[in-house]
Symmetry: C2
Subunit: 127 residues, 2 copies
C-alpha cells in the first residue's frame, strides 16, 4: 500500500496544468508552456509540473535531454473524484442533492435531464 499521495484538491493553476497534460498526452515543459493561458515563464511551468509530480499526479521520465510528463490518473477519473469531493463537502454526500441543485439553480432543465437520463438507460441496455 505505498500510496503517499493524498489525492483530492487541485488548485486553480494545478488544474490548468493537468488539463494541458491531459490534452497533450505525453509532453514537455515547453509543450505545456505553449498551451497555458495566460502565458507563464518557462520556469514557472516547470515548477508547477514538478510540484504535481511530487504530489503524485504526474509522472515523468527523461527522454533525450528533457523530461516528458504524463498524467497518472485519467481525466475521467479525476473528474469523478472532484465531483465526489464536492458532493461530500457541500451536499452531505448525496449526489441526488447535487443533481437537484443543478435543476433548482437552472443549470439544467428538467427536460434535458430526462432526455439525458433516458439516453443513459438505453446505453446500459445495449451493453
Amino acid at each position: 500500500m505505498a500510496k503517499d499521495a493524498k489525492q483530492e484538491g487541485l488548485t486553480k493553476l494545478e488544474l490548468k496544468m493537468m488539463q494541458a497534460v491531459w490534452r497533450l498526452g505525453s509532453c514537455t515543459v515547453s509543450d505545456v508552456q505553449e498551451q497555458v493561458e495566460p502565458p507563464l515563464a518557462y520556469t514557472t511551468v516547470q515548477t508547477m509540473l514538478n510540484i504535481l509530480e511530487r504530489k503524485g499526479k504526474l509522472r515523468r521520465r527523461l527522454q533525450g535531454k528533457a523530461y516528458v510528463y504524463s498524467a497518472v490518473m485519467s481525466e475521467a477519473k479525476a473528474l469523478g473524484e472532484a465531483v465526489r469531493d464536492l458532493v461530500d463537502r457541500m451536499f452531505g454526500g448525496s449526489s441526488e442533492e447535487l443533481v437537484m441543485s443543478l435543476v433548482k439553480s437552472r443549470q439544467i432543465n428538467r427536460k434535458r435531464l430526462a432526455e439525458l437520463s433516458e439516453r443513459l438507460q438505453r446505453n446500459e441496455e445495449e451493453r
Copy 2:
C-alpha cells in the same frame, strides 16, 4: 453596482464556517465555535467570521455586547454557485457532462437518476 465581493471559491474552513451559520441562522462567535469540528480557539473562529464578513459572505450587527452574524446568501444559492464553478472549471461549462461523470464514476446509478428525473418532472407539472 457596489459589489466588491467577488463570490466564488470558499476554502475548506470558510465553508465549514458558512455551514455552521446556515445551520444556526443568526449566531454569535460562541455559537459557531460550539458547532465547528474539530474544535478551534474562540479567536480563530472570530477571525474567520470577520474575514467572511470582509468578503461579503456574512453580515453582522451588534446585539447587546456581541456581534450576531448571518449569511448574506442562502445555502441553496451558494450550492448552485459552487456547482456552476465546478462545471465551468472542470467540465467546460457543460452540466450534462457533470451528470454523465456522476453516472460513469458510479456515484449515482442510471435507475436512481431516471427516478429522480421523473420525480422532478412531476414536480414541475403540479406547479
